[in-house]
Every structure is written in structure tokens, then in C-alpha cells.
Symmetry: C2
């Protein structure tokens, strides 16, 4: 077989606060032929996700930290180009955690490789609506949020990969849905998806203004708050929550680049009187919902009840910038990097 060259992004320095391009370094490596039990893959798409910011710190968390000088990892889909594992044939489309690179050779288990199911979806959908962000939205909203028809669901980061799915699943479940996103364009898009009220948080501002905007947008109060943002959004949700509201806590992207610990909501005592439930959400806890998720989501996409957007950056060179843009809301829907 011909030698394969791959470019891969390595963590050059641990970012302090907002990451900068110099924290990343692009390197070329030669990819070997597969040994017995190994598979060689050319990646077609990779994903950038907010949770990766945490892995750039040298802190033990649910994902191990990226190592300095080593290639980063993350979700990717690609095509098998050579295989010495009986489970994989050349041409198979696979997902793996070997993102941030153009190609690789590895034992399938070492990179959590799986063949893409034969749904009528483009491969990159398995990094978004039909993949990890989709299951996150589905499991978090339905299992932790437990929305009932007629209730009000508030979701922040509603223009993003997870939030835009939460909003639409909540509509399918018969809820009144309020989404918060940055900018008029995203808010218009949310309304086009059927969201009942959209808050442009960049126009509104934070603090009491955000609470006031939410109170107006959710006149019956908030029964479920799906948190992707933290900070003032969580404070506003607690302020406007109804008794026994449920709050799946999925992300706090507004805090990830802070260099100093940020104070939490000043209205924590309301948790008691309102008997709120705040519960942290990681998709890995909800793998048992994968079959139901695939069944429901396939049907919802096929019938047009779920629509999704992608924001695509072109080429491996663009990956760090695509990642950085997540923190300024540069994406509508799923942020992806096309690699081939």
C-alpha cells in the first residue's frame, strides 16, 4: 500500500482563559499500514464541541485531559481505506474518537470505532443530530427534564447543536418552548423551527434584564430548563422556575474560558422553596437510550419534524478556529470541520 500522510492537531500549550491559535500546532505524520486487528481510516468529518475546552486544562474530569504535544481526540467519521480486522471492510463508513486528524491506523476498540448505521442520513449527521449531541438532547430533555405537554421548556444555547434539538423535541412533546440564542438571525431560525419565543441574549444583556426577558417570554413560568450556558441564564431560569421545575445541566459554556472561578447564581435558596431539581448530564450515562433515540430521531427527521443546521469549516487547517468560534456563537446548529 502507498504511504499515507495525515495532518493532526496537537495541543501546543494549555490555554489560560480563551484559547488562542498558538495553543495548537499542526503536524504531519505518516500513517502505517494496519497490523493484524487494525484498521486504517481516512476521516471525512470531525467535530468540535464545547466540552473539549475542559480537556485542554490539566484537570482530572470525566474525559482525561489532552496531553501536551500529543494529537487531540474527538468525534470523527471516515471511510475505511485498509483493514486487517474481519469486522471492517474497505469502504465502510465508521465513527471514532480519532478526530483532529485526517487519517489514522488503529485497533477499532482503541478509538471507539463503530460502523455507521444505514439510515438515510449523510455521514456527518452522526456527529450531530444522529450522534452524541442528538442523544444528549434526547436523553437530557426526556429523562431528566421529563417535560409534559403544556409545560414551558426553556433552553439556552438554543442555536447550537444540542439546544436546537432540545427545542424541537420539546415542541414534539407538546410543550411551550422558549429558546435563548445570540443574535437576530439565530432567533429567526428558532422561530422558523416552531419555537414559541426566542430571546436574543446579546441584545437583552445579562443580569436582571435577562430574567425580565424570560419572564415576558415564559408568562406561565419555566417547568424545564435545559442549561447549556450557565451563569446569568441559570440565574434567570431559577428566578422564573415554577414549583418542581427540572433542570438538566448539560453545559455552562459562558464560564469555560473564565480564568477565575465565577460566582454561582445568587438565588440558590429558591431551590428549596420551589423544590427545583438541578441534575448534571453527560451523554455517556444514557447509552441505554440509544436504540429509542435512533428510532425516534430517524422518524422525526424523515417526517420533517426535526430539522438541523450545520456550520461547516473547510479543511483540517480550520479546526482550531472552528473550535474557538463556538465560544462566540459562530455556529448555527452543529459546528463541523470537513476533512475530505
Amino acid at each position: 500500500m502507498a504511504k499515507v500522510t495525515s495532518r493532526e492537531w496537537r495541543l501546543a500549550a494549555r490555554p489560560v482563559g480563551e484559547p488562542s491559535p498558538s495553543d495548537f500546532a499542526l503536524s504531519s505524520v505518516e500513517i502505517g499500514d494496519p497490523a493484524e486487528g487494525e484498521v486504517q481510516v481516512r476521516n471525512l468529518w470531525m467535530t468540535v464541541d464545547p466540552y473539549m475546552r475542559g480537556r485542554m486544562n490539566d484537570v482530572k474530569s470525566y474525559s482525561p485531559p489532552f496531553q501536551l504535544g500529543e494529537a487531540m481526540t474527538g468525534g470523527a467519521v471516515g471511510e475505511v481505506t485498509a483493514s486487517r480486522d474481519a469486522g471492517y471492510q474497505v469502504g465502510d463508513l465508521v465513527s471514532s474518537m480519532a478526530g483532529w486528524r485526517e487519517a489514522f491506523t488503529a485497533a477499532p476498540r482503541a478509538v471507539a470505532m463503530m460502523k455507521l448505521p444505514s439510515l438515510k442520513l449523510p455521514p456527518q449527521a452522526f456527529l450531530g443530530v444522529a450522534g452524541m449531541p442528538g442523544l444528549t438532547a434526547y436523553a437530557g430533555l426526556l429523562r431528566i427534564g421529563e417535560p409534559k405537554a403544556g409545560e414551558t421548556v426553556f433552553v439556552s444555547g438554543a442555536g447550537g447543536a444540542v439546544g436546537s434539538l432540545v427545542a424541537q423535541i420539546a415542541k414534539i412533546k407538546g410543550c411551550y418552548v422558549v429558546g435563548s440564542a445570540g443574535g437576530q438571525e439565530k432567533c429567526d431560525w428558532l422561530r422558523s423551527l416552531g419555537v414559541d419565543a426566542a430571546i436574543d441574549y446579546k441584545a437583552v444583556g445579562g443580569g436582571p434584564a435577562l430574567t425580565a426577558a424570560l419572564r415576558e417570554a415564559a408568562p406561565k413560568g419555566v417547568d424545564v430548563y435545559f442549561d447549556n450556558v450557565g451563569g446569568d441564564h441559570l440565574t434567570a431560569a431559577i428566578d422564573c422556575a415554577n414549583i418542581h421545575a427540572r433542570m438538566p445541566i448539560c453545559g455552562m459554556i459562558s464560564l469555560y474560558n473564565n480564568t477565575r472561578p465565577s460566582p454561582g447564581p445568587h438565588n440558590m435558596p429558591m431551590i428549596i422553596g420551589k423544590r427545583l431539581k438541578l441534575q448534571g448530564l453527560l451523554v455517556s450515562d444514557h447509552a441505554d437510550m440509544q436504540p429509542a433515540f435512533v428510532k425516534d430521531m430517524s422518524e422525526w427527521i424523515a417526517t420533517g419534524r426535526i430539522r438541523y443546521e450545520e456550520t461547516v469549516a473547510e479543511g483540517i487547517e480550520s479546526a482550531p478556529q472552528a473550535f474557538l468560534s463556538l465560544f462566540s456563537g459562530g455556529n448555527t446548529g452543529k459546528m463541523l470541520v470537513r476533512l475530505a
Copy 2:
């Protein structure tokens, strides 16, 4: 019947920050004979509880605010002195929400009157270990905290009415128990109850020192945190929490007298990675557990597995001071006022 005079405490002014004696006014009133369907009661004991602080503010919450110039209310136990309700006889021992006064005449339903069950307990136990604080501890720990044998349970306010029961119930369930209380004396008492480690938070201080003390006291991390205190205690619990820890949020007494909103924990993002569950707790949601609670608690008291302390203030005159002392930890176990 002879006229009955009762003294009652009225809210004279809404406290700002820490209440002062001048916020309360003692008045004498004549108690009428019962009309048809009414009962006259001489109170023997009344309770003071931290949640009453919230009712002194003019803010809608789970309990309606006390009205200025009117008698306050709260738990009491007393003896029926006259009755024109077929369900009550002279001499019956009853509980009611007509506390903060020596005697009253009312329709039983208007004051949530109930006959005390004939357990082998003194009447004031139904304001503490066998009453609302007992059920709060029982339901909050078992239903929200879901402790498993071998897990670590951390409880703040462990020297108080609710906390000291949480600690003992957790020991009965086979847990390793860490309690936080103010002062060496309370910590010694907790150890005498079988608590595995006691933190004297007044000696330790707050902030990182409290987290460090908790980390040392709970070397395997915290699986259940029962919050009575809020503030630095909640921050420390989140810092030391294990994956999937449960946190019944029962009270935040450290914040109740603050005149400005207090920042919440700076480590809220840990809720995500650790998949913590924080859930507000009000005893009124858990009335269905009352039969199981009475059965278990009676047995535990009879067999000496649950012990309880009372701190008793004498006479209606002492009620405001008894209430105020809750905020400086003046009580060990249940704070009570003996009225007769």
C-alpha cells in the same frame, strides 16, 4: 367558662438582615369560648424553626408571609380545654399551626389541628424527632439522598433538629457519616451519636479550609450531601462530591439574614462532569411517607438507635430570643419554647 387570656407574638416590623427583638411585639388577647365546631386549646410547647425567617419577609414563597401587626404562626402542641367539635375532647393532646401564643380558640381545620398519636413519647417530641423536622430528615435523606450502605453521607447543621436525625438515620442505613456543626461541644455530641467524623466549622473557617477539612473527613468522597446551611458548605460538598452524588437541599441558614443576594458556589460547572443532583426539599411534598416514618422512628427511638436532644427556652416571653439563637447555633437538637 372562665375567660382565658393568652399572650401572643406579633410581627411588629419586617426585619432587615438579622432580626432584632424590636421586630416582635407581645400582646395579650382574650380567647373566646368555642362556638359550634370550634376547639379551645392551651399550648404546652411551641417550636421555632429557621424557615420562619423567610415568612418575616414580604415575599411570596411556599409559606405565606406573616402579616405586620398580626400574630405569627408555627407548630405547637397543646391540650384541649374546651370543645364543641365532636372529634375533640377536653384533655386531648393536639398539634396545630397556632404557635407563637399561649392559647387559642379555632376550628380545627383552620389551624391544621391533629390529635397526637399515642406513642410513648412526650408531647414536644411531635414538634421535633416525631414531627416535621423528623419527617424532613427521613424523607429528604431516604427519598432524595437514596443512601446506600457503605456510601459517605455529609450533613451540615448536624447539631440541629433535622441534621442530627439525618446523621443518625444515615448510620442506621450503614453509611459513613460526616457531620458539620459549630463548636467542640456539638461535635463531641455528634461523635457520641456514632457519627464517624465531625467538623467544627467555626474552628475550621470557610472557603478552601472547609473543603480541605471535608476532604480529610470524607476520604472516599461524598455520595450524599444533606444541605441545611448553603454557602461555603455547599461549595465544599460539590468540591468533594463523587460521581452521581445526590444533594437534598433542605435549608441555607447561613444566607437567610443576608441583606444582599449572596453569590452561589463558584464550582457549579462540577455539577455537569460529576452528574450531581441537587434537589430542593420541603416536607409538605412527602406527607405520603408519614406512616413509614412513624413506624420506623418509633422503633428506632424505642431501641435507642435514634437519640435526640432538646434545647428549651422557658415561657412565651423567650420565644423571639429562642428564634434568634437558631442563627448563631444556640441550639443543640430541637429548639423549643415551653409555654406551660
